[in-house]
Structures are given as structure tokens and as C-alpha cells.
């Protein structure tokens, strides 16, 4: 009882929940092409007005950073507390700055 030898490709779905906000990843689904991915995404991820716009991206087109690179990529920011406003203790008079 083998299924069709070729699975429809996987698409990652991004939804803009309302005007003014960015598209956010909501999950993925299978579809034969981009048009069908949008239609399916409408049914799967926006049944309750969760969105006003949908992006569909072939999962195979995404390049992700590797979890093994977490330290070299993100740790250098660790000791740069001076990049945060709270690093600077100012007199009370200007503390709303």
C-alpha cells in the first residue's frame, strides 16, 4: 500500500497577523506548488482571522545557522553590556533619557 512515490514538497508558512506587524513563522505544510501552499496555509493557519497576509517559502530554500555555531555566533555579544542603555548610570535629573 505504498503512497505516491513523490511527496509534495514542504513549505514554511509565515503569517502577518495584522497590518503594521511583521510576518511570523507559524508552521509548515506540504503542497505541490506555491499557489496551493497559500491556499492550504489559509485553511490550516488562518481559520480564525489570524492573518492578513501569508508568505510561503520552500523549506529547502532556507539556510539556517547551525546549533553548533551558537557560541561563536552569539556569545561575543555577551560581554558588551555597554550596548544596553541600562549600562549608563546617569544623574536622576536626566534619568528619563
Amino acid at each position: 500500500m505504498s503512497t505516491s512515490a513523490k511527496e509534495w514538497p514542504l513549505w514554511e508558512i509565515f503569517v502577518r497577523s495584522r497590518q503594521g506587524l511583521g510576518h511570523k513563522h507559524v508552521g509548515s505544510l506540504h503542497a505541490a506548488d506555491a499557489e496551493m501552499a497559500i491556499t492550504n496555509a489559509r485553511d490550516v493557519y488562518t481559520r480564525r482571522q489570524e492573518g492578513v497576509s501569508i508568505w510561503v517559502v520552500p523549506a529547502s530554500a532556507i539556510t539556517a545557522s547551525s546549533p553548533d555555531d551558537k557560541e561563536p555566533l552569539f556569545d561575543p555579544a555577551n560581554d558588551k553590556v555597554y550596548r544596553h542603555p541600562t549600562f549608563y548610570k546617569l544623574p536622576d535629573e536626566v534619568n528619563h533619557m
Binding site: S4, E7, W8, S28, A32
Partner: protein, 321 residues
């Protein structure tokens, strides 16, 4: 296991115990991956097979309003199945493999869906009790250590509460209706009560995977704890409906601060899990036939997509002079 793997595993356990989340590409022990694939796929299959008992009543709903509601609910269950299949695929298993395992009978799904839906009140009892029990099981999973599963469960839980409320409302309407309608509501409760309690799984002593899943923060409460919570929550609701829970041993235990309830027929549960429930064969046959009869659609859509893609590349190819 090599020393390196042992070290990785110890770090993993500490990390997860600290309430931190695991994402698809992170290192994880094989057993953790396998446990999740088993649990998430069973869960996905349950959502999909769970559409069948209710689908049975879509064409026979008593009004257009009830029909729209039931359609929306069943469509939600399809959505839940899809969220969960894609969460499961992040663990490196393909959709085709998952479906093959369902259709071959290798994978399990919740045994509750192997019971028949005999009258309209069953739509009420299912929403009230079956979705109610599902919610009780699912809410803790929103905090599960595996990110994609936890996120899928957040979506699912948001949608489930409508399912339970519409079910309770059907029960309420029938319980307040004619004597016949009340009898139908009681009959539905009689048939769905015990299978609903079985949805929480075997008693803790008999539940082989529980301890490990708790340690990995996949599971938060034991089967018996959740079952007790469900009984305590449901008893006053049944009273409000004026219906009788079919358990002569059910009574409030002042000392424990919980309801005591009668023994569950685990032989029945095992029978249904083994494939001998009233509708196991019918459910699997319906799934297989839907899949097989849809094959030409999947193939045609794939062929069409391929053709369109070819046309696009050939039309954008620079023409030789």
C-alpha cells in the same frame, strides 16, 4: 555509549530539567527523538481518525447552525492533525512514512475513536467529554520541552475550548428537551463515560514510558492525576445537566478532597488498543480508502506543478540569436 555521548546526554538532561527548550537541529538522545516521534505521530493520527466518528453526523445534523458548527469543529481536528504531523516531521521522519504506519496498523491512535456514534447526543458527549479529556491531556503539553510540539499544542489548545463548549451546549439543549431527548443524552453519557476515562492511559503503575517522559519534561502530570482532575471537573457539570454518570461507586471523598470512582475495565481498553474495538476495522478502512482514492489528485497536482515549473524556466531562458 561512548564517553562523549554520555557527556552530551548528561548535559541534555540538565538542560531540559532547567525548563529549557529543544529545537529541531539541537542534539538530542535517540530515545528522546523516538519517544517524541511515537507520541506526536500517535497524537496526529488521533486528530485525523477522530474526524471520522463526528464526520458521520455532518449530513444529519439537526439544523444548519449545528451543521456549520460541526463542520468547523471537524475541520479544526484536521488542522490539529496537520500542525502535529509537521511538528513530527521536524524530527526527521517523512509524512509518507507516518501515513504508511497509520494505514498499515503499525502506529496507534487514541482508542476512543474506535467507538461508534449512534445518536445526535453523541456529538454533545464527544465535545463535552472526549474534547474535555483531550484538553486536560493537552494543556500541560504546551510547556513540553520540544519546541515545535509545544508550539503546535498552544495552537491546538486555543481551538479546543470551542469544541468542548459546543459539545456541552448540545448536551444542555437535549437534557432540557423532551423525555426522548433526555434519554438520548443519558444514553450518550453512559456509552462515552468509561472510554473517556481510559483516554488518560493505563494507571501509573502500568504505564511503562511515563517516568522517562516526566524526566524529559514531555509529560508533566501522571495519567492517574489527570484522570482524577477530569472526574472532579466533570461530576458537577453532569449534575448541572441533570444526568447520571454511569458509575455506582462514584462519590465525594471528603478526606482526599477528590471523587472516588469505580474500577476501569482495562481488559476492554487492551482489546480496543489491540484492534478489537467496535469500529477499529471501519476506521482504518476509511482512512486507507480516503488515502488511496486521493492518490490521483496528489499525483496530478505534482505533475501540474512540475509542468508549470518547466514552462517558467523555458520561458525565462535567454533566446539564442
Amino acid at each position: 555509549m561512548s564517553p562523549v555521548e554520555m557527556n552530551l546526554e548528561a548535559r541534555f538532561e540538565a538542560y531540559v530539567a532547567d525548563e529549557k527548550k529543544i529545537e529541531p537541529k539541537d542534539w538530542m538522545p535517540d530515545a528522546y527523538r523516538k519517544t517524541l516521534i511515537r507520541q506526536i505521530s500517535q497524537h496526529a493520527h488521533s486528530e485525523i481518525v477522530g474526524m471520522l466518528p463526528e464526520g458521520n453526523w455532518i449530513t444529519r445534523a439537526p439544523s444548519l447552525k449545528r451543521k456549520s458548527i460541526l463542520l468547523a469543529k471537524v475541520q479544526d481536528e484536521a488542522g490539529h492533525g496537520l500542525y502535529l504531523y509537521s511538528a513530527c516531521e521536524t524530527l526527521g521522519v517523512s509524512r509518507d512514512e507516518l501515513l504508511d504506519d497509520l494505514h498499515s496498523g503499525k502506529a496507534k491512535y487514541s482508542s476512543i475513536f474506535n467507538y461508534p456514534t449512534l445518536n445526535w447526543a453523541d456529538m454533545g458527549a464527544i465535545g463535552w467529554l472526549v474534547d474535555g479529556a483531550a484538553i486536560m491531556n493537552q494543556v500541560p503539553l504546551c510547556k513540553c520541552s520540544y519546541g515545535p510540539y509545544a508550539r503546535a499544542m498552544v495552537r491546538v489548545c486555543k481551538e479546543e475550548s470551542f469544541h468542548q463548549r459546543q459539545g456541552f451546549q448540545i448536551m444542555l439543549t437535549m437534557a432540557q428537551g423532551t423525555a426522548d431527548q433526555r434519554a438520548m443524552a443519558q444514553d450518550a453519557l453512559n456509552r462515552w463515560w468509561w472510554p473517556s476515562l481510559m483516554m488518560f492511559g493505563p494507571s501509573d503503575a502500568e504505564s511503562p514510558h511515563s517516568a522517562q517522559s516526566m524526566k524529559w519534561n514531555i509529560k508533566r502530570f501522571s495519567n492517574d492525576e489527570l484522570r482524577q482532575k477530569f472526574v472532579d471537573m466533570t461530576v458537577p457539570q453532569a449534575e448541572l445537566l441533570g444526568l447520571t454518570i454511569p458509575d455506582p461507586d462514584l462519590r465525594w471523598n471528603e478526606e482526599r478532597g477528590h471523587h472516588d470512582f469505580g474500577p476501569i475495565d482495562w481488559t476492554e481498553f487492551q482489546e480496543v488498543v489491540q484492534g478489537n474495538g467496535p469500529c477499529n476495522k471501519e476506521r482504518l478502512a476509511a482512512r486507507r480508502s480516503a488515502h488511496e482514492r486521493g492518490a490521483w489528485v496528489r499525483e496530478a497536482a505534482a505533475a501540474y506543478a512540475e509542468k508549470q515549473a518547466q514552462r517558467k524556466t523555458s520561458s525565462t531562458e535567454p533566446h539564442a540569436a
